[in-house]
């Protein structure tokens, strides 16, 4: 899974599922989606379900904070962190 793949998958999901309500057609990496009204509590709900289904990660309650979901870059970093943590945990179990 390349960096581009994660970022573009998130961007595509945000544009197709969340941003259209606000009439937004393009989103840059650093655009604040929370301040822009794109991501609400219902939006986070949809995003977390998308993360769980697409990247196979679990999002605990304590991770539901704005700095993990504010921009496309924040979300990409968060997904990569969780994927790496899950892989590390699997390796430890295998050892």
């Amino acid at each position: 899974m390349t960096e581009m793949a994660v970022k573009e998958q998130i961007r595509k999901f945000v544009l197709e599922t969340l941003a259209w309500r606000e009439g937004i057609a393009t989103i840059a990496d650093e655009d604040s989606l929370i301040d822009g009204g794109v991501i609400t509590s219902l939006g986070i709900y949809r995003l977390v379900r998308f993360f769980e289904e697409t990247f196979g990660i679990q999002v605990p309650d304590e991770d539901l904070v704005p700095h993990n979901f504010c921009t496309i870059t924040d979300m990409e970093r968060y997904v990569e962190r969780r994927v790496a943590a899950a892989a590390g945990a699997q390796q430890r179990i295998a050892v």
Binding site: A19, R21, G23, I24, A25, T26, I27, A28, D31, I34, G36, G37, V38, I39, T40, S41, L42, I44, Y45, V48, R49, V59, D61, L64, V65, P66, F69
Partner: protein, 346 residues
Amino acid sequence: MIGIQCPADAAVSATPAAYRPRHSLLWWNSARECAADLHAIVYHFFLWSISLLPLNLAFKCVSWISKFKQSLRRQDASDLRREIAGALDIGAQEREELIKRTRALAFWDDVEALYYNRLNEASIHRLIWVRGLENLDRALQVGRGAIVCCGHFRGLFGFLVALNLLGYKLNAIRRAPKNAQGPIARWLNRRRTLISTEECKFLWMKPGNLGIVLQAERGLKRNEIVIMLIDARFATEAVEARFLNKAVPLPSGHVVLAHASGAPVLTCSVHSSEHGLPRIAEIGEPYFLKGDVVASVQNSINHMEKQIRKYPADWVWFADRGLWDGSTRDRHTQAQPSRAPVNLTK
């Protein structure tokens, strides 16, 4: 009057003119906070004194005080009067009676909150009867939790307390209350309305709390009940529905959650009995939401509207929540014109 300029005044005079209003504003705000605190202390002491009476006597006492208060001075109810006139086909006399009753019930809500901690499973029926518990049990037997859709009815907190005392685990989604002005007023308000426990969790809708819907879904997965208020106005992802003779934007969160979780939905309303107490909560039959979001929102809201028309004094009108948009005429329901796509980066 002789004006003496003290050193502090001189310092204020020496500051730029643009600063002065802010300084006076600070004093004004402090004075308002003190006044709010003083008012809160007196009002809470008054509520607490009434709550020392037995429940039925306290209710009668509140009705008398409310009638007396309204005979002394007419509270500003112009918005409420206009909202009711636009929504219900009733005469002026009936409307005034309705306003009096809704004001008395609002006052009782404040007193009632002080009884919650003193009631238990055996005595809660003195405050509220819950009808339709078999419907709730049937919904929970499915194992996917239950979404209870309710409106802002008077006595809603009593309903939550009753369900909690009867052993149901609740997650109630609520909008965070507006902060009272003074620190003591804030503390007293929190203390009076805080009924949140391990079994009755409040999920507060506020800007920093992003995970509220997810927490609700996790509650459903634990086969718990999620209480959602469907008559909040100006919600995110609101859809336009016909409600009390008007097209109103109403929240669709319960539909999204029901679609995603597969949990059954039940509608619920609370109203006063003939003599005021006990209040009666009615839980409808469980059903599963399928298909169109707008149609599902309309379906839920139709049930609530039926109850409001039957017991109009028991609903907290938009005007009393500061949410009335001022229009009594119906806006023709039509699809909103799609906005031209914009680039967020610009």
